[in-house]
């Protein structure tokens, strides 16, 4: 997907046919995606230069091997908590708890997505995706999210511009409340935390706050962008 965007971005017709501010936003996205590569490369190159200047270049080899070693240790120790949690989550799914949560939040969904008819399949898929996100079911959330996007795109009449509902959905999706941050609890356990789960409360609070801000910002931007072609 990223590759496609890049090819598109460097095509001359794209520059001739696209308003300048959109070129700016597209370049921003592509630039940010490239940041991962540069940060990674930067840490290694800058690290080796500093080691060379300090006259202790030999620590680089040791550090690289130690880092790789730690990475494998972490992954192995994560098997335990991920296996356990996936079991519990499967139970929650089969018990109908995801559906129950979805039913509970229906009134909120109607307020958040006024442009989506209340019985439209998009509504159901979005609710399931957000519920799965809240419960930390990453694997279940993504397919549901993609189905929701497909349904929203039918309401959008297949245009290549994001609809209001899509923007709201993604704002919620990326800022969603997290009840149990499983992976990081596993890592805290591995390094001998006296209370690995004491960050659960702060995580719920931080995500609840950011979800509220995301809803607010999305509403403001929706009004601000209303009536524009994109």
């Amino acid at each position: 997907m990223t590759q496609l965007r890049h090819a598109h971005r460097f095509h001359i017709l794209y520059y001739l046919s696209t308003p300048l501010h959109r070129v700016a936003v597209d370049n921003l996205i592509a630039g940010v995606v490239a940041v991962v590569n540069y940060v990674w490369l930067g840490m290694i190159v800058f690290g080796i230069i500093v080691a060379a200047v300090n006259g202790n270049i030999e620590v680089v080899t040791m550090a690289a091997l130690e880092g790789a070693n730690n990475a494998v240790k972490i992954s192995i120790s994560l098997i335990a908590i991920i296996t356990f949690w996936l079991g519990i989550m499967k139970l929650a799914e089969e018990a109908g708890l995801v559906r129950a949560l979805a039913w509970l939040v229906r009134p909120i969904m109607r307020f958040l997505f006024p442009s989506v008819p209340k019985d439209h399949p998009a509504m159901g898929a979005m609710v399931m995706n957000l519920s799965a996100n809240i419960l930390g079911l990453g694997n279940a959330a993504t397919p549901m999210g993609l189905i929701a996007m497909r349904e929203l795109q039918t309401l959008n009449q297949g245009r290549d511009t994001a609809s209001d509902a899509m923007c709201t959905f993604l704002a919620l999706n990326t800022s969603c409340i997290t009840l149990i941050p499983t992976t990081i609890i596993g890592i805290r356990l591995l390094y001998g935390s006296t209370d690995p789960t004491d960050i659960v409360g702060p995580t719920i609070m931080a995500t609840a706050f950011s979800m509220a801000v995301a809803i607010l910002v999305d509403r403001m931007l929706r009004l601000y962008y209303a009536g524009r072609r994109w």
Binding site: V25, I29, L146, M149, S175
Partner: protein, 176 residues
């Protein structure tokens, strides 16, 4: 308020472990079989993180052992202190919206180096637990239905990320 958060942390997981299986039994689910069925994917899911973690931990390990981390922290601390963000978590804050695996590697390194129960360890844990890989999600979701114009999505996504970051710093400072 803050004792509430601490109590929430203590009770959240035991309550889920109680409610989920009990409701499942009442709804006629074969609890043991279903648990095993779901848990089966745990091994492959965990093993899949190895390449991401190796890539990131090798880089950050070199960065730290060489003294480059110290150079960064010394130079950026005065600036970042203005907004209350410790310079040690800056690499994590940059990576979090971009790549979940990379951010996890950095968070594990912070937890290992400073201890899971230190301020930095708890802050990195909360940041890792509460932010999302905004750019990955936007690219995947919009890309899957051929949306090329994201409109204001990037702005709301980034505002949400910055809010989570600020909220994490504030809440972790206040609670612990």
């Amino acid at each position: 308020m803050f004792t509430l958060i601490a109590e929430l942390s203590r009770w959240a997981i035991p309550m889920i472990l109680l409610i989920v299986p009990v409701v499942a039994v009442l709804r006629g689910v074969k609890v043991y079989e279903t648990f095993v069925d779901g848990a089966e994917a745990g091994f492959t899911t965990a093993i899949k993180t190895i390449p991401y973690l190796v890539a990131m931990l090798v880089a950050i390990s070199i960065f730290r052992a060489s003294g480059a981390m110290e150079v960064l922290v010394t130079n950026l601390s005065p600036l970042l202190n203005l907004v209350g963000l410790p310079a040690e978590v800056l690499p994590h804050a940059i990576m979090r919206p971009l790549s979940g695996g990379a951010a996890l590697g950095i968070a594990s390194d912070i937890i290992k180096t400073y201890g899971p129960d230190s301020f930095l360890g708890r802050l990195a844990s909360t940041m890792q637990g509460s932010c999302d890989t905004t750019f990955y999600v936007l690219t995947l979701y919009f890309g899957s239905v051929g949306i090329k114009r994201y409109r204001y999505s990037i702005i709301s996504g980034l505002v949400a990320d910055l809010t989570t970051l600020a909220a994490s710093v504030f809440i972790v400072r206040a609670v612990f």
